[in-house]
């Protein structure tokens, strides 16, 4: 099996968790790919099958998010995911863990714990398969950043 590549993906609607994640991370931490829908996550998993996905969910979309997470966990055995849940979903925390979430952040202050887990997971795998030139550019943050597309329809929501 080809060696797995890993990225840090955050799937959320508004960028709140991503901003908090970036501020909670050290400068040498992995780059955060901020994504707005499952359709944006899938292609990245194809090229980085050991990615760590942080999935935001709320009362309206938790079920579709769970289905997506289960599907990715099934299709990409090395993928790990964590749920970034709203306070109303506190009763579902055991369920999120049951389907394979390595951690559940119920508020922003839990994010540091999740970020440390993500960092440890990603450190087990080589970063995305970039050329040496791309690797240098990414190291300095010169590669095009992901620009989340707010116009896109969110999958299943």
């Amino acid at each position: 099996m080809a060696e797995a590549r890993a990225r840090l993906l955050i799937w959320e609607r508004h960028g709140i968790w991503s901003r908090a994640w970036r501020s909670a991370s050290t400068p040498t931490a992995c780059r955060v790919h901020e994504l707005r829908g499952a359709v944006e996550v899938e292609p990245l998993l194809e090229t980085a099958r050991a990615s760590f996905i942080a999935i935001e969910c709320d009362l309206a979309n938790w079920e579709s998010r769970c289905h997506a997470a289960l599907k990715w966990a099934r299709d990409y055995g090395q993928v790990r995911f964590a749920m970034l849940a709203c306070p109303e979903l506190v009763p579902l925390e055991p369920w999120f863990r049951e389907i394979g979430a390595v951690d559940v952040a119920l508020e922003l202050r839990d994010l540091g714990r999740v970020a440390r887990l993500a960092q440890r997971h990603l450190s087990r795998y080589r970063p995305a398969d970039l050329s040496p030139v791309q690797r240098c550019l990414e190291r300095w943050g010169w590669l095009p950043e992901f620009k989340p597309d707010h116009e896109r329809t969110e999958w299943n929501s």
Binding site: R80, L143, P144
Partner: protein, 518 residues
């Protein structure tokens, strides 16, 4: 007196002939009466279902009566708020699930303390509109969550059944026997085997199959967990245990990659294991046996002994090539069950190739390969040409010599890097060479010299602005000569030669692997 007897007879006749399931629960949620329609619906005799206690939980259970009784349980608030409606349902043994709308009516007896609950269930399953995740029922948010959780848990549990552990080889038979013993004893189990061999699947199968377990399962990835995360997981476990109800509820703690647990976490876990909560079942997976590691002083012996009362050894795929055919067929049929396309299986040549392949990624890799093959297969049978290129290349490589590896050209890599850095800096600085030089930490004269040496031309004004976050002006359209990007962000731009940018540009780290999968 005779009139009363007559009324009872009429009522009995009505309840016996109606197609609507009706049942009666007492205040301890014990099923005191059910009519024949309920027996028909559940498939259980009245003698088996009556006197079963209906607990409000969504756990997957190997015990059929407990599982169905849990599915018939009304929302707990019914005794407080009065009559209400809700969904009742359960998963059948064949994996299908059924869900119906029920009306619950509390009945108070002459004795104020005693109360009964009458449940009248619809005669047909609740209808769903296409795209609806759940039948629409006017219930509270908590009840809706409960109903959906029950369905999801049932679906998840159906994937982890003993029948899924297929194989005819002696190793596969031994695995099934070990799993059966583990299910019956309820003792802590460690599943040892190579990564990707389905260790977690086997552990979840044991959890689902344990007859007394109707709680959840809390997995912990020991390879990445730290003390804080482990504590959070244990808290979730306690919460899951309290949600599951009274004993004999069992919640499983599943420790994944136990052999990679840090020593601090081992100490914390040992403290917890020394005084475990009642109703917690311990399951673990490991690449190397914790007991063997403990013998070499690489793992805490007490913890290893506490968690490895039973060790289940998972065989490698390469050691049971005959099973690969069965597993590949099983995976195709699982795909059939999921999608609309129906495939019958593989042609013999493809099966031979799959059986001969060494499968370093074990079952995970086989699953990935079969899924890709099914996706690419145009017909009803998967052929060799439908298999991923890596597998076909491996097959061909068995018949030819390994080609020489291509060396990395250091000077070319450095030149290319210089070119990219300078071009990007110029683009960011709108061709302002002084600013570009400052950005690169070079003197302007040296930058000009490098531009000349590398034969760079000034970037066109419509240079890709995606990277230019400091630009004040609106972003012009993207040009085709943008720098090579991570393949993750967007598709590669075609060049004039008809190649993608990544194909036209040599990837200096790309080394011919000689046809072998890496």
């Amino acid at each position: 007196m005779s009139r009363a007897r007559s009324n009872i007879q009429v009522l009995s006749r009505l309840l016996a002939t109606t197609s609507q399931p009706v049942y009666l629960l007492d205040d301890r949620r014990i099923l005191q009466y059910c009519n024949p329609a309920l027996c028909d619906w559940t498939g259980l005799d009245a003698g088996r279902i009556q006197s079963a206690r209906c607990d409000y939980h969504t756990g997957v259970d190997g015990n059929e009566v407990m599982r169905i009784a849990a599915g018939l349980c009304p929302p707990p608030e019914v005794f407080e708020v009065g009559a209400l409606s809700g969904l009742v349902g359960f998963r059948r043994d064949d994996g299908s699930s059924t869900q119906r709308l029920a009306h619950f009516v509390p009945l108070s007896g002459a004795d104020a303390d005693a109360s009964l609950l009458l449940a009248i269930v619809a005669s047909h399953d609740a209808e769903r509109k296409p795209g609806d995740s759940a039948p629409s029922v006017p219930t509270s948010v908590a009840n809706q969550l409960h109903a959906r959780l029950r369905e999801l848990r049932n679906a998840l549990g159906a994937q982890h059944r003993l029948e899924q552990l297929v194989g005819e080889s002696p190793a596969a038979r031994r695995l099934r026997e070990q799993v059966s013993v583990a299910v019956q004893t309820g003792a802590p189990v460690t599943i040892c085997g190579p990564a990707g061999a389905g260790r977690e699947h086997v552990a979840r199968t044991i959890h689902v199959a344990r007859a007394t377990g109707h709680g959840g399962i809390i997995p912990v990835d020991c390879a990445i967990v730290d003390v804080a995360s482990l504590e959070a997981a244990l808290q979730a476990l306690r919460k899951s245990l309290s949600d599951a109800g009274q004993p004999p509820a069992v919640v499983s703690l599943l420790l994944l990659d136990l052999d990679r647990l840090t020593s601090e976490c081992q100490t914390q876990l040992l403290r917890w294991v020394a005084a475990p909560l009642p109703g917690v079942s311990l399951l673990a997976t490991a690449g190397r046996s914790p007991l063997a590691l403990a013998r070499h002083g690489e793992f805490q012996g007490a913890l290893a002994m506490a968690l490895s009362v039973i060790e289940v050894e998972l065989p490698r795929l390469v050691d049971r090539p005959d099973d690969i055919r069965l597993l590949a067929q099983l995976l195709v049929e699982q795909q059939n069950a999921r999608g609309q396309r129906q495939l019958s299986g593989f042609v013999p040549e493809a099966l031979n190739l799959l059986s001969a392949y060494p499968w370093p990624g074990e079952l995970d890799e086989l699953t990935q390969v079969v899924n890709e093959a099914v996706a690419h297969c145009p017909g009803a049978v998967v052929g060799v040409s439908d298999l991923p290129a890596s597998i076909r290349a491996w097959g061909q490589a068995q018949h030819r010599l390994r080609p020489a590896e291509r060396p990395i050209k250091f000077d070319d890599v450095v030149t290319e890097l210089q070119r990219e850095l300078i071009t990007s800096a110029l683009a960011r600085c709108r061709n302002n060479r002084a600013k570009a030089a400052e950005r690169l930490g070079l003197s302007r004269a040296r930058l000009l010299r490098l531009i000349e040496q590398l034969g760079l031309v000034a970037p066109s004004p419509d240079w890709d602005p995606v990277v230019d976050e400091e630009a004040d002006s609106p972003a012009p359209p993207r040009a085709s000569n943008r720098p090579p990007e991570a393949s993750d962000s967007m598709p590669s731009q075609p060049t004039t030669e008809g190649l993608t940018a990544s194909e036209a540009r040599p990837n200096f780290w790309e080394v011919d692997d000689g046809g072998e999968r890496g």
